[in-house]
Symmetry: C2
Subunit: 367 residues, 2 copies
């Protein structure tokens, strides 16, 4: 078992990473002195509930905690104000009070939804994350919680740090292969923005990671979380540095949006986005090897790095214009300067984006 401390002053919290942790949830709740007199609300989805809900309920129950649960539908659509209100109703009807804990048992959607409930129920109660996906190693660090508005993703939310993250890597064994690859995309991103050695380690351990080797996974997740934690510690409220975490996201979010959040998984979309960002850097004069190395790591994981031919350039640009990463009408991009380092530039012209879209379509013809 590995423990990683996220350093945020009085809002600091630990991330526990290891096997079998869900069975020990009750012990961890006791260690953190969470209230046994107030009901604990476990929020999860209908894919995760049959696999792990009972395990968590029993562990908490055995330690003397009272639990209630709310199961939402799996998928991004549950990150809505409507479902948010349903969870709130469950919280009120179950008598949650100010010392209650809201648990997110699941992936990023459940984490974001349950986290925003925890942030706003009675103006904020304790929150515990129990991620069950690889992708959630990213979203479980940093305290960003939100639901979507029909006009834009993640527009309604808060910064709300958890009491702890209980990351049971055993749950990852049941993930579909496509989700494994997509989840590893954010892990690789953490190497690309911050730590060339870790990016190289990811490349060397491609096979181990894809086969969910516990040692490699444990190290990779810990390292990924630790990089994110360092960035977040320096910029909790996203005033500057934290934006580097958005490498690949400007274009990635646009691809997710025009695919109706169905064609691409988040990790796939940002993989294409990271390839595009590297290509823009090369077009601006960086060494060609920056693009080649980036795409070869990603491709090794079976992640997409070319632009599907059927996506219209204007549609992609239009979707980017709606994204909140536009700051005062200027096009902000996170661009790599070398492997393990990025810069935030705010003067990327629409023409540069059009060019890279067409270049990545062209690459698609050669693959």
């Amino acid at each position: 078992m590995r423990t990683l401390q996220v350093d945020l002053g009085e809002r600091s919290y630990p991330i526990y990473i290891g096997g079998g942790l869900l069975n020990e949830a009750g012990d961890y709740f006791e260690r953190h002195q969470l209230s046994k007199k107030s009901p604990v609300l476990i929020v999860t989805d209908d894919h995760v509930a049959p696999l792990y809900l009972k395990r968590v309920e029993e562990s908490l129950g055995n330690s003397g905690f009272t639990t209630v649960s709310k199961v939402v539908k799996s998928g991004e659509k549950s990150k809505s104000l409507e479902v948010f209100e349903e969870v709130m109703t469950a919280a009120i009807e179950s008598g949650l009070d100010r010392r209650s804990v809201v648990v997110a048992l699941g992936g990023g959607v459940v984490g974001d939804l349950a986290g925003f409930v925890a942030a706003s129920y009675m103006r904020g109660v304790a929150f515990v994350q129990m991620p069950t996906t690889i992708l959630a190693h990213d979203s479980s660090v940093g305290g960003k919680v939100a639901v979507n508005h029909r006009l834009a993703k993640n527009m309604i939310g808060a910064f709300h740090q958890p009491e702890m993250v209980l990351y049971d890597v055993d749950t990852l064994q049941s993930l579909p292969e496509r989700e494994v690859r997509a989840g590893l995309s954010e892990m690789i991103k953490h190497g690309l923005i911050w730590d060339a050695e870790f990016a190289e380690w990811c490349r060397e351990h491609t096979a181990d990671l894809l086969s969910l080797d516990p040692d490699a996974l444990g190290y990779g997740l810990t390292k990924g979380c630790s990089i994110k934690a360092q960035v977040v510690s320096e910029d909790e409220k996203e005033m500057g540095l934290r934006a580097i975490l958005n490498l690949g996201h400007t274009l990635g979010h646009a691809l997710e949006a025009i695919g109706g959040y169905g064609e691409f998984l988040h990790g796939e979309a940002i993989s294409i986005g990271m390839a595009a960002a590297a290509r823009i850097s090369v077009n601006r004069g960086r060494d060609r090897s920056l693009y080649d190395t980036t795409t070869s790591i990603l491709r090794g994981f079976g992640l997409p790095t070319v632009m599907p031919g059927h996506l219209e350039e204007d549609q992609i640009i239009g979707a980017m214009m709606h994204d909140k990463k536009f700051k005062e009408q200027q096009l902000v991009f996170v661009l790599p300067t070398e492997i393990g380092k990025v810069e935030i530039v705010s003067d990327v012209k629409v023409e540069e984006v059009r060019r890279v879209i067409s270049e990545l379509k062209e690459e698609g013809h050669h693959v």
Copy 2:
């Protein structure tokens, strides 16, 4: 013009209290270096908009700010997730970004609603309060923002401190008399919980305050805000001390709830609640004068201090059981120990509440 600083570390902010301030809104925005490049969203209601919206828009416009506005229906029903979503839609459609400001122009409902929008739009943007009621002198200090859930008041919200409060006392001249009285109820409460001298000053200036004499009003509002600010500074997140602000609220909220938020104004309900709290204290052995003085000050302002005969005891008790001021199934009350001092007790028995309800009904027969 009076300025009062609310001291909350890096979240500190000033309250400006005086006449004609809405006309100078643009100057104040400039002084606080709010962004001219990002649209300002003014949230107000259909009673306030015809009176003051144009004034604010013009002042901000003359200083080079771009404004958009969202007018909601007047009344507690606008403090819903539904209206919250409508305001969010307006914010997104108007292109608000992270440097935008959300303005609450109106009373407590508009302040709570717009404040929760500001707290959660893109995980938090700047917030400016422009109160137009006396009651809002209370809600504009402390950063509590929320909407109601159909099952309970203020269940969904946040702590979000404003950049500043611009309190134009000229707007109070248009208030209906009943709202003036009810608004002064919270001002008197601030004296009763914290400052016997101020309570006595309120009694001496009853006529001046009711006639909205600018000097008396300016002093009273500043003093009321300043007491609340002291309490909030010591306990921003309501872990302990801040609960003293709930004097009269345990019973008051129940009366509001069973009256369907229509029979009593908030200030009227807590006036009865303050009388009840003083009576419970007397029943527990405090000097009878505590109850007599409390009720005589309140009655001087034309505020109710007896229990209407048609309200069922069981209904009142039932509504209290639903209120979030029950901590782990114990009945928590703020009780006065003398004029200007209160204590928080958590062992008030249901029988004591039944007794005081019947005593206050009895008082009604004598009035």
